[in-house]
Every structure is written in C-alpha cells, then in structure tokens.
C-alpha cells in the first residue's frame, strides 16, 4: 500500500511521527506491505498530520490524524476521511507554481529540472531577459525586480561572484521558506543554479536560521546530492536582523550581524567584497517556473506591478491556517475570511498584521485592500514575506505596539542610533501614555520618534517598526487611552 505522510516541522509538532509509528504497526499486524513516503506539507496545517493513501480510485486523504485514528483508516471506517485531496476546494482554488510538488514528492528524490535545462539551452543573456520580462520581484519583502538585480551582478566586473539565498525567515506569521526547504529543496537549488548560470557565479550559500533544524537537515542532504551548482548551507545563530541582506553577508563572513550602509549594493560589492545576488528562498524558487513556462505565462498572473504568484501564509487565530499560493490580487478580506475561514476562536476579527513584526496592523475596514505591493504601500502597510497574522477582538493593540518596540530593542544590531536608542525610548513613551502621564504630549512624541526612526534608520528593522506602531495608533486609538 502506497501512502504519504508529511514530515514537515508543523506536522511533526502536531504528532506526525507517532502517527507514522502507528501506521507501520497497524500495517504489519495486517500483513500489509506499507510503502510510506515522508513528504513535505500540502500547507493545510489545520489538517496535519495529513495522511494520503493510494486506492483503486486514486489518492485519498485522512486528517488531522492521531495514532488512535489509524485503525479506522485501515478498516475503511475513518471519520477523518477527506476524500480526494486534489479536489479539496482549498487546494483546487490555488495557483501552485512554487509549491506544485510540495507535499506530494519525496523531498530528497532529485526531480527533473526543466527550468535549468531550458536556461542552459537559451543562454545567460536570454535567461536575464526572461526573468526581467516575467516581472518577478524579490519575495523577501522589498519587492525589487529580480531580473534587474541579476543583470547588475552579471554586468559587474570580476571573475568571482556569489549567489546567496536568504533563508533567515524570522518574520512571525511566515513559514513558506521553511515549508519549501523541507518539502522541495531541489526547487530552491535549481533556482540558485539558474542565478549562478545567468550571472557567472560559481558558488552559492544558503543562510538558514538556527530555529529551523529540520529545514537545515533537509537542505544539507539535498545540497550534497545536487550536482549542478556548488551550494553550501550555513546556519544563523538566533539574530533577527541577519535577515537584512547586508547583515546576513556580514554574518556569512564570520562577523557580527551588523548592517552595512548602502551603497555599495551587494550586486557590486557583496559577499567577501565580490558581486553577489542576494534573494529570498521564494524568489529563487519562482525562477524554475519562469524558465519552464516562459516569462509571458508568469507575467500573465497577478495585478499591477505585482506579477506571478505569492504563497500567502495564514497564521495566528485563524480557522484554516496554512499556506495558500495564489496570484497577486486577491483582497485581504477574501484571504482572511473566505480562505482562512475567520478566527479559530470564533470571535470577531479585530486586526490582522501583514508582513511580519514590522508590518502594519489592518482593521477589517481595510479588508478590500488587494494583495499587491503598491496597494499595501498606498495604505501605509507592506506585504513583506506574505504572512498574515489574525487577531480576534481580545487583542490589546497598545500592547502590540509596545511589543513591536520591545522586539526592535532586543533585535537591533546597534549600528545606528534611531533604531538602537529609539526602540528603547519607544517602549518608555508607550508605557507613559498607558499610565496616562502627559498622554497628549507623549503621543505627539511617539509620532515624532516614529518619524525619526523611519527616515533615520540604516535598515528596515528600525525603519519599518513605525508601521505596526503607527497603524495600531491610527486604527485603534481607543486602546491607547487608559
């Protein structure tokens, strides 16, 4: 009997290993030869551990399973039966380019690499053109056009260049990088190989945060089995700011993860002072589809200047939490209410934070905002890495604003004053406001401080922390009156 069961960290955290043991035992007791593939996750986290079994009518799914449910699966009487998973509306309504194989294949089986094959057929110049024409933008948050970045590195003089993958996915509410590295590591490696081919780089690094031991293990095994590009896996050490590209390069070079002033840009002077392409996991993982299906196909998806697909991550107090890959353009409300099913607690939604700890809090009155870089910017928010954290009416928005400052103070690299000192002063000012101490004057001071941090910080940590703080203040002023 062929079966698939996820070994994604979320599935493991929800007991997938115990389910696997129960499956093996139950199969042995029945004399059934079990051919169990441990896959990545389909992204339907509320159904994990999710088991899929091949039957004469096709693959049938069961979930969420506990070890006690396994007998009924074999007996054909399972109340956890979900039917044909590919027909499930939550999966069927997606456009899966990056996550097409995730949850289905053995992550460590080397796949056919049609994107890389085509890249080699058309040559580096045409690859750069395809990536530029596809409209693909950096998925780490900044949204910089990937083709332009790659061309900048390709055009930079010098024989030694690097491709660096930023897998320091530190934003709360995001887990797409982790899921991809655990479920389809070769897609990322293929994208990096294409980047190396197009830019003339011969060596790649993947910098993975230490909080992702399962992703690290899978990527190490995949990289050592990958013959098309020399990729080394490096592990972070618990620093959020190392997700900023220049801090990441410093860390890769063996130094404190402090940000560099730009210019020079990494494409001109990056890792070890050499021209370097730094992109997020999802950016590299988008490229094989761009090459395989063509720039026109890719650019045909999305809206405005946001082309292609984005893996949206639904997190926090949400009923159907998980990863939903779709073309840009769905509204926030559709994603949270229709796809996410509202809150898990069944309380009304009060706010959603989009784009991680440095993203803005949006009230339901802004749920008509389409998932698009420019549309979010126009409403003083950001898409970031595509994470949406849902909060019910039990949330205290002043506490969230204070937390944003506290987080910034803990994680600041200390290089620039607005971030290093500003975050500490920000906590103090919010505390004063909440004590009712010169509230009006201190509110004005808080806004002034946010303005200084926004325009005076070296990188996005201090520069973007005003997003959650000011959005909480602007949309939920009542929470700041005590």
């Amino acid at each position: 009997m062929k079966a698939r069961l996820s070994r994604d960290a979320a599935a493991l955290a929800l007991g997938a290993e115990r389910v696997a043991d129960a499956l093996r035992e139950a199969a042995a007791a029945r004399g059934i030869a079990l051919d169990l593939t441990r896959t990545g996750s389909r992204g339907m986290v509320w159904l994990e551990p999710l088991l899929e079994v091949e039957t004469s009518e096709g693959w049938r799914a069961f979930g969420p399973l506990s070890p006690e449910d396994v007998d009924a699966v074999f007996g054909g009487t399972s109340a956890k039966a979900l039917g044909a998973i590919d027909e499930h509306p939550w999966l069927k309504s997606q456009t899966r380019l990056i996550f097409a194989r995730c949850g289905i294949v053995d992550p460590l089986a080397v796949p056919p690499m049609e994107g890389l094959k085509r890249a080699r057929e058309i040559g580096p110049v045409a690859v750069l053109e395809e990536v530029t024409k596809s409209g693909l933008r950096g998925r780490g948050g900044a949204g910089f056009p990937a083709g332009i970045k790659w061309k900048g590195c390709a055009d930079a003089p010098g024989p030694v260049k690097y491709v660096v993958c930023n897998a320091d996915e530190g934003d709360s509410g995001t887990f797409a990088d982790r899921m991809l590295m655990e479920g389809d590591p070769f897609l990322l490696l293929e994208g990096m190989a294409i980047a190396g081919f197009a830019s003339g780089a011969a060596k790649g690094y993947v910098y993975i945060r230490s909080e992702y031991p399962h992703a690290i293990a899978t990527m190490r095994r995949a990289a050592s089995a990958f013959a098309d590009f020399d990729v080394e896996i490096r592990v972070g050490a618990g620093s959020y700011v190392c997700g900023e590209e220049t801090a990441l390069l410093e860390s890769l070079e063996g130094r404190r993860g402090q940000v560099r002033a730009k210019p020079p840009l990494p494409v001109h002077q990056g890792l070890f002072g050499k021209p370097t392409i730094v992109n997020n996991v999802l950016t590299f993982a988008s490229v094989p589809a761009v090459l395989e299906k063509g720039a026109a196909f890719y650019a045909g998806l999305g809206m405005g200047r946001s082309r292609g697909t984005m893996p949206v991550q639904l997190a926090g107090d949400v009923r159907y939490g998980g990863l939903y890959e779709t073309a840009f353009g769905m509204t926030l409300g559709e994603l949270v209410n229709d796809v996410g099913g509202g809150t898990l607690s069944r309380r009304p939604i009060r706010a959603v934070q989009v784009g991680g700890p440095l993203g803005a809090y949006f009230p339901p009155s802004l749920f008509d905002t389409p998932f698009d870089y420019e549309a979010f910017a126009a409403r003083d928010g950001l898409l970031g890495h595509g994470g949406i954290v849902v909060f019910s009416d039990s949330v205290d928005m002043a506490a969230q604003a204070r937390f944003a400052m506290e987080f910034c103070a803990v994680e600041s690299c200390g290089k620039c004053t607005p971030c290093r000192i500003g975050a500490v002063r920000g906590q103090e000012v919010i505390d004063k406001i909440l004590r009712g101490q010169n509230a009006e004057a201190n509110l004005a001071l808080l806004r002034d401080l946010c303005d200084t941090m926004k325009s005076g910080s070296l990188c996005a940590l201090g520069g973007f922390v005003p997003y959650p703080v000011l959005s909480a203040l602007n949309h939920f002023p009542e929470d700041f009156v005590r």
Partner: protein, 151 residues
C-alpha cells in the same frame, strides 16, 4: 550532558574551520555543540585560528543570541515562542503559566536545575501556535495541560 572543555579537542575543531571562508560562525556552532557553551579559552583559540583579536572573536560570539558564553544552567532548555502569531492564540498567558510553574522569568532556571526557560521569536509554526522547541524537537498547539506533559 555535554563533556567538559577539552583544549586539544577544541583546537581540532577550530583547525577544521580556520581555512573556511567566513568560517567563524560554523566554528562557534561546532564549539558550542561539543561543550554546551563557548568558554573563554575557546574564544582565545578562535581568535588565533581566524587571525583576529580576542575582542573581535568575543564580539562575534556575544552578538548572537544562540551562543552561550556561560555553561547552561538547566539540564534542558524550553524555548517558548513569544512572537505575534503565537500571541494571537494565547502565548502570553501560556508564558505566564510556565513562568509561575517553573518559578522563573525569561532566561531563568528552575530551582531543581531541570529547566531553563528561553524566549524565541518565531519557530515557523505560526498556523498551529502556541509553539515551543526542546532541543530540535518541536511542539505545537500548546496549552497549559500540554506544557505540563512536556515538563
């Protein structure tokens, strides 16, 4: 339990990385994996191996939350996520319960020396919080009862 510091062993570890470009972080990870922390004696070896000053090596080790400059005080460490997605499903109340239960604040070790409690900002388990990590083992959808079973 990790073995006590062994100079010869540490020298071997450092030598394995000193030729690696940007090898200081991997070396620090390896030292910590071997000895449970990064002792001052190892800082001196790292400085020599990478041709930097001891102050620089110490500066790197102390920058990162992961590297411990003192031996771990608890036998095991519970890393509890306190980032936003877990906050949205009750991580703050859960953390308050764990702190009361162990009689410690963040970074503290229970009186019996069994557990050290650490905060972590996101384990990438944001659709099934609150979450926690013990060693490399991850746990999700925690509540007071589930944490009790872990402890």
């Amino acid at each position: 339990m990790t073995p006590p510091f062994d100079l010869e062993e540490a020298e071997k570890i450092v030598a394995g990385f000193s030729g690696v470009p940007g090898g200081l972080l991997p070396a620090l990870h390896a030292v910590q994996a071997a000895f449970g922390h990064v002792p001052r004696a190892a800082i001196a070896l790292l400085a020599k191996g990478f041709n930097i000053t001891e102050a620089e090596a110490y500066g790197v080790a102390s920058f990162y939350h992961d590297f411990k400059l003192e031996p771990p005080s608890g036998r095991r460490t519970l890393k509890l996520c306190r980032a936003e997605a877990c906050q949205a499903v009750g991580a703050d109340a859960l953390a308050a319960h764990v702190k009361r239960r162990l009689g410690v604040d963040w970074g503290g070790t229970s009186a019996d020396g069994e557990w050290t409690l650490e905060a972590v900002f996101c384990l990438g388990l944001c659709a099934c919080g609150p979450s926690a990590m013990i060693g490399d083992e991850v746990h999700a959808r925690l509540d007071n009862g589930a944490v009790e079973r872990l402890l």
